[in-house]
Amino acid sequence: MSENTITFEIDGVEVQGIAGQTIMAAADAVGIYIPRLCAFEGLPPFGSCRICTVKVNGRFQSACTQPIAEGIMVENDTEELLELRRNLVDMLFVEGNHFCMFCEKSGNCELQALAYRFGIAAPKYPYMFPADRNVDATHKDIFIDHNRCVLCARCIRASHDLDGKNVFQFVGRGPQKRIAVNSTAKLVGTDIDVTDQAVAVCPVGAILKKRVGYTIPVGQRKYDHEPIGSDIEANKQ
């Protein structure tokens, strides 16, 4: 055991991680799934969606940003946290216009997959049905459907950190906060390319490659058979 090894507990089970790891990264490494939405492997921690909220020594923390420390007691798979995460996903569903029944991301969508994992059959909050969300289809290979954006900022970070561009940015504050493109001429005026990571990382059906649609049959989509997080849990030690 190296001096960098840190020992702590998740849900009463002793686990070990490496100094400097976040709780999420350490949990992933030992096959414990902590649900998440804005976190994405290869992108720096962001901590905005709060789906990965855990309790550390009794206090709420986001697992994607909080580093591990010797002896901490982490709560993850508890009814209290499940309820909190369920409420967050519920709110994301009602805040936008998420119509899974015809969305081409259905079956590959992380928001939908979280809802299934959490046992959400229908949101408990009233739908807001926002009427101000538009579709930007001006780019020849990519389209953005703002109805389905959950403001996770993956596209902003991927464009900047991975693609070396700066295509997306947040505008507005509070309920008016939106993703905007760095162009007055919509997506067509940006330097985004269909092969950019910014397109690939969208967890929902907001940024999509055109003309892909429903090419993957039902039954062969990412979450058709195994719930989200199964790939991490498969590594359980």
Partner: protein, 480 residues
């Protein structure tokens, strides 16, 4: 126009054992004579508007949400239109045959559902039978074998849809230019295992419908019947083809009004009229005008319009059917049931033909071509000819959609049937019983209407809310 305020009003709401919601109003004078009878479709749908702005490849999946009974028809009609949008005039053999299999599976399950679950209580127990037994539960109690057949036949068709579209309801199998999966050997063998049984049950159902019509011909012949034009797609050689063909319209005597019309030109031949008392439009043949140009679609129209059926047992059944009217078109409303069961047998024959075709296991699924701005897709849905017409802008967004749904074409015929039955069976009766009112529903049911699909006259008819006090005076009126 006669003032209808003084007339007695009978309302049948909802009309039962049909898909969707509708109501019938019958206006009677003091001697209970029928002055007016109408079928109103009270649902309101707006799919032609919802789809605007959406990417074109979404249309086959989005628009099928019109309906939970025959979504496959909308899925495939939209996909056929999108094939043209992506510049594909002819699919690969595998794609075409997978879609046909999906479509015949759909036809088989929808017709079985209608015959066994919705219509058979009237035919087995009589139109006047007590309402407590005149339903599918009554059928299950008195004829358990038939009830089981109905369930199992529907299941068989639904499983075919699942195998080809991915889901039993609202699948994604047809994509612009082709399909997203083929049929595995295991799936094929699963369907072949039961096909003899399905064929046998289809023969039995056909016999019930045929015997009922012939044995009760005297009563059935005038029941809600009238001469009409008939419209359907037919193949190049005049054969019945439920998935693809050209438009043919015939009159009540069988004379062709037009024939082998490329449906890309349908607007030159068919147009629609909006009336202020229904959300459903009234299509008619342009050259004949709204008074005479209305037509029937669906099983009766298809069996009447085609020259032959290209599967042996269904063709033999068609000949028997046509012999009743000496080879002329059959204009009996109740003959829809018989025609529907001929198509059920035809569908299972086609399913067998397709399952034995190795093209279904092919891997060449999708083609691409040069993008076009407009696409029109037609097919014969269980309830009749289905029109999907789209325009798409340069950004791949749908900017116009026009749907003429089968039941919409049967709007005028159903209203005629309702009027005829009301005149023949209700007018002047001292007491109007539930059984008598069921006669009206029996006539509507023969058309197997899908009322939810059929209503989309968006922007043409405002919603009106009237607030009326206890004395019948209008206190307030609000319209959209």
């Amino acid at each position: 126009m006669q003032d209808t305020n003084d007339l007695k009003r009978i309302v049948i709401e909802p009309v039962t054992r049909v898909e969707g919601h509708g109501k019938v109003t019958i206006l009677l004078d003091e001697q209970n004579r029928v002055k007016q009878a109408r079928l109103h479709i009270v649902e309101f749908r707006g799919f032609e508007r919802f789809i605007q702005g959406r990417p074109y490849w979404e249309a086959p999946v989005l628009v099928q949400r019109l309906c939970g009974i025959c979504p496959v028809s909308h899925h495939l009609a939209a996909a056929k239109a999108m094939d043209l949008i992506v510049g594909v005039d002819k699919l690969t053999p595998t794609a075409e045959k997978i879609r046909r299999l999906m479509h015949y599976g759909q036809m088989f399950q929808s017709h079985s559902l209608h015959f066994f679950h919705l219509a058979s209580p009237d035919l087995l127990f009589g139109f006047d039978a007590p309402v407590a037994i005149r339903n599918v539960i009554g059928v299950a109690a008195k004829h358990p074998d038939l009830a089981v057949q109905g369930v199992m036949m529907r299941k068989y068709g639904q499983e075919i849809i699942k195998a080809t579209a991915g889901k039993k309801i609202h699948g994604t199998g047809a994509i612009p230019g082709g399909v997203n999966k083929n049929l595995s050997i295991a799936e094929r063998d699963m369907f072949l295992k039961d096909i003899d049984q399905m064929t046998e049950w289809s023969r039995g159902a056909l016999k019930i419908a045929k015997d009922y019509t012939i044995e009760n011909l005297e009563a059935v012949a005038p029941f809600g019947s009238f001469d009409s034009n008939h419209l359907s797609l037919v193949r190049d050689d005049g054969a019945m083809d439920l998935y693809h063909g050209n438009l043919r319209a015939i009159d009540a005597q069988g004379n062709k009004i037009f024939d082998q019309v490329d449906y890309q030109n349908y607007l030159e031949y068919i147009t629609e009229e909006v009336r202020d008392w229904s959300y459903m439009k009234f299509p008619f043949i342009k050259s004949l005008g709204p008074e005479n140009g209305w037509y029937r679609v669906g099983p009766l129209a298809r069996v009447n319009a085609c020259d032959f059926i290209d599967t042996p047992e269904a063709e033999a059944a068609r000949k028997e059917f046509m012999a009743v009217t000496d080879g002329k078109p059959n204009n009996l409303t109740m003959a829809y049931h018989w025609a529907r069961m001929i198509e059920t047998l035809h569908s299972i024959e086609k399913i067998r033909e397709l399952l034995e075709d190795p093209d279904l296991q092919g891997s060449d699924l999708v083609l691409k071509g040069d993008r076009r701005p407009e696409g029109i897709g037609l097919l014969e849905a269980p309830r009749g000819t289905l029109f999907h017409h789209y325009k798409v802008n340069e950004d791949d967004q749908v900017v116009m959609a026009n749907l003429i749904v089968s039941t919409t074409s049967n709007n005028e015929p159903m209203n005629r049937a309702v009027s005829k039955v009301a005149m023949d069976h209700i007018s002047g009766k001292a007491e109007i019983t539930e059984g008598l009112l069921n006669h009206i529903e029996v006539a509507i049911r023969a058309y197997d209407p899908c009322l939810s699909c059929a209503t989309h006259a968006l922007g043409k008819m405002p919603l009106v809310v009237r607030l009326v006090d206890h004395e019948g005076n209008e206190v307030a009126k609000k319209s959209t």
